[in-house]
């Protein structure tokens, strides 16, 4: 029962969040200089044709009227038409969503196991040689610029060795795996140290906890202690961090997507912004909002599942 309550409450709140975010985004995008009609019609387009385009899309109306129209459409379930492509925004988002989701999942699969492995190795004997190496490697990983890494990897593995394609999304599951390998690895290489740092810090804090001593006194092996006692007790901050990261990733794995030409939401967002394609930006914002709220909810549920003391 409380579970359902929580979920339904969150969904209700979601509506508020969506309303707020729509308004803010709407104002901000319109506040930024730049005219979609000009970018649409091209450089040599005449002033009349630009005015005509503006009139056709209602861009010449006062802002509040544009917003009202938008909201009215939104309520009736229509998130609008792309100014640039004359296609329903929903269709565009649907087209670009899968690569991003796939990439996000891929990154998680690549990032989580090493994070846990490294954090264990490090926390098992804090200050030991293994820990030092992991720390240094982690630190190095942290300091490497993502886009630089992306370019270097695409040069090396893509061009010089030819092992992986350097662009696109591919077809079929294995095609996706193959095509998105480099982008996923580049992201994971950046994500792993961040998560490892956090997890390792929390783990080391728990190594001295009394209940860990107690588990040891029961003859639990270090492995059992780690999985059953230390990890659940230490994982919450990292889980929350991961939630934030995943939300950020869905919202804007832009750098990686541009470097590797992945046709994902990040790419769509940048292009929509540069082309001032207002409704696509709005639509994407809504998608990000929904996914964030869902991720937050998932993390909160997991948190409550792991830690019975936590109440929402």
């Amino acid at each position: 029962m409380p579970l359902l309550q929580l979920i339904s409450r969150r969904l209700l709140q979601l509506i508020g969040v969506l309303a707020g975010i729509s308004l803010v985004t709407f104002l901000l995008v319109h506040m930024a200089p730049g005219d979609p009609a000009r970018l649409l019609a091209g450089e040599r387009a005449s002033a009349e044709s630009i005015a005509a385009i503006r009139a056709q899309y209602g861009l010449d109306l006062p802002l509040w009227r544009q917003f009202l129209t938008y909201i009215a459409n939104l309520v009736s379930g229509d998130i609008g038409l792309s100014l640039r492509f004359q296609r329903p925004v929903i269709q565009l988002i649907e087209q670009f969503m899968w690569p991003t989701l796939f990439l996000t999942g891929y990154v998680l699969c690549l990032a989580v196991p090493p994070t846990v492995a490294l954090a264990i190795l490090g926390a098992r004997r804090p200050g030991g040689i293994g820990d030092q190496i992991i720390r240094l490697v982690g630190i190095a990983g942290l300091t490497i610029p993502v886009f630089w890494l992306g370019i270097m990897m695409s040069r090396f593995f893509g061009v010089s060795l030819g092992w992986f394609p350097v662009s696109g999304y591919g077809t079929g599951f294995t095609g996706h795996l193959h095509h998105l390998f480099l982008p996923a690895v580049s992201t994971a290489i950046w994500l792993v140290p961040v998560l490892t740092q956090s997890l390792r810090a929390a783990l080391i804090e728990k190594t001295t906890a009394d209940f860990v001593t107690a588990a040891r006194a029961q003859g639990a092996t270090e492995r059992q202690i780690f999985w059953q006692t230390m990890l659940p007790n230490a994982v919450l901050p990292t889980l929350n961090l991961l939630g934030v990261m995943v939300a950020f990733m869905i919202g804007g794995a832009v750098i990686v997507e541009t470097v590797y030409a992945v046709p994902g939401l990040g790419t769509l967002m940048v292009n929509a912004l540069l082309g001032r394609d207002y409704y696509v930006v709005q639509g994407l914002t809504l998608v990000f909002a929904v996914s964030t709220v869902l991720i937050t909810l998932a993390v909160d549920l997991l948190t409550a599942f792991i830690d019975p003391r936590v109440r929402f």
Binding site: V17, I139, L142, T143, R200, L241, G251, V290
Partner: protein, 283 residues
């Protein structure tokens, strides 16, 4: 809101010298010195353009070579350290402070406060960073200060979420209940009892964040964000040099190395702080 030096409490003993800490301080101190002394050390004006001497490789004249418009890379790397040091601090501290405060309040008080903050949090995370950057550039104009503003507006969420997760469990612990019972004000409890026990993973993350901030400006260059030319900044130097990297590896390499070394300094610092912080419980 922090009435006792929290850090002093969180990391009380410097009794044993720690090698990582020393290295970290050495690196950071070194960069600080270089940054301060940049006008003295730098052989050239960092913005002086030399059309005839573009993309010349490292030589006795130009130790790190020259860039795509003939500026001395060595001098620029030096001068950029001023910007980057500042950027690391200014880009991390405000989100850290704001996020930590919000995380503390939200996690500790729960209820309505938490709900409100978490909705703001949802809003912020969901908010496309690019739209924000674009709007800020459009309305306030491009520039580093506005960039930091944008970073702060978005960056606090990670801290808030991280701290809140910690606080949710800490607030149930008996020593917090004891503190309440002793009639300490919420401010005191939060600052003196909750925060020091929650700050560990935050410090670890802040340090990685510093490195990210340093490089973020370069990523948003295409929206006109970050350091404006001709101001030297490592991230922008790398990004601009990218197009020329085939013939002139030195334009990207040296600022990259500089950024990595400074990042290393910060990362080691965070590492050391974490160690000391942990020692706070036992020693």
């Amino acid at each position: 809101m922090i009435d006792t030096p929290v850090l002093a409490q969180a990391m009380p003993s410097f009794r044993k010298p720690m090698p990582t800490m020393l290295v970290a301080l050495a690196i950071l101190g070194g960069w600080l010195a270089l940054a301060l002394a940049a006008p003295v050390i730098a052989p050239y004006d960092p913005d002086a353009i030399d059309i005839m001497n573009m993309l010349s490789p490292p030589s006795a004249l130009h130790w790190f070579g020259t860039d795509q418009v003939g500026r001395d890379v060595f001098s620029r790397v030096l001068f950029a350290s001023r910007v980057d040091l500042l950027l690391c601090v200014a880009g991390v501290l405000p989100p850290l402070l704001i996020g930590t405060t919000i995380g503390l309040l939200s996690g500790y008080f729960g209820g309505v406060v938490d709900n409100v903050f978490m909705r703001i949090y949802d809003l912020t995370v969901a908010f496309p960073f690019f739209v924000l950057v674009l709007a800020i550039v459009g309305v306030l104009g491009p520039g580093l200060l506005n960039f930091i503003l944008a970073l702060t507006l978005v960056g606090w969420v990670s801290y808030a979420r991280l701290v809140r997760a910690q606080v949710l469990t800490i607030r149930e612990s008996e020593y917090i209940q004891a503190a309440k019972c002793l009639g300490y004000r919420p401010v005191a409890i939060l600052g003196h009892h909750v925060l020091p026990n929650a700050i560990g993973p935050v410090i670890a993350y802040a340090v990685s964040d510093a490195v990210l901030v340093m490089l973020a400006g370069a990523s948003f260059g295409f929206l006109g964000m970050g350091a404006q030319p001709p101001l030297a900044e490592w991230g922008v130097m790398i990004a601009d040099g990218q197009a020329f990297v085939q013939q002139a590896w030195w334009i990207c390499l040296f600022p990259g190395l500089a950024a990595i070394s400074l990042g290393l300094g910060f990362a080691l610092l965070g590492d050391g702080l974490g160690q000391i912080q942990r020692r706070g419980v036992t020693a």
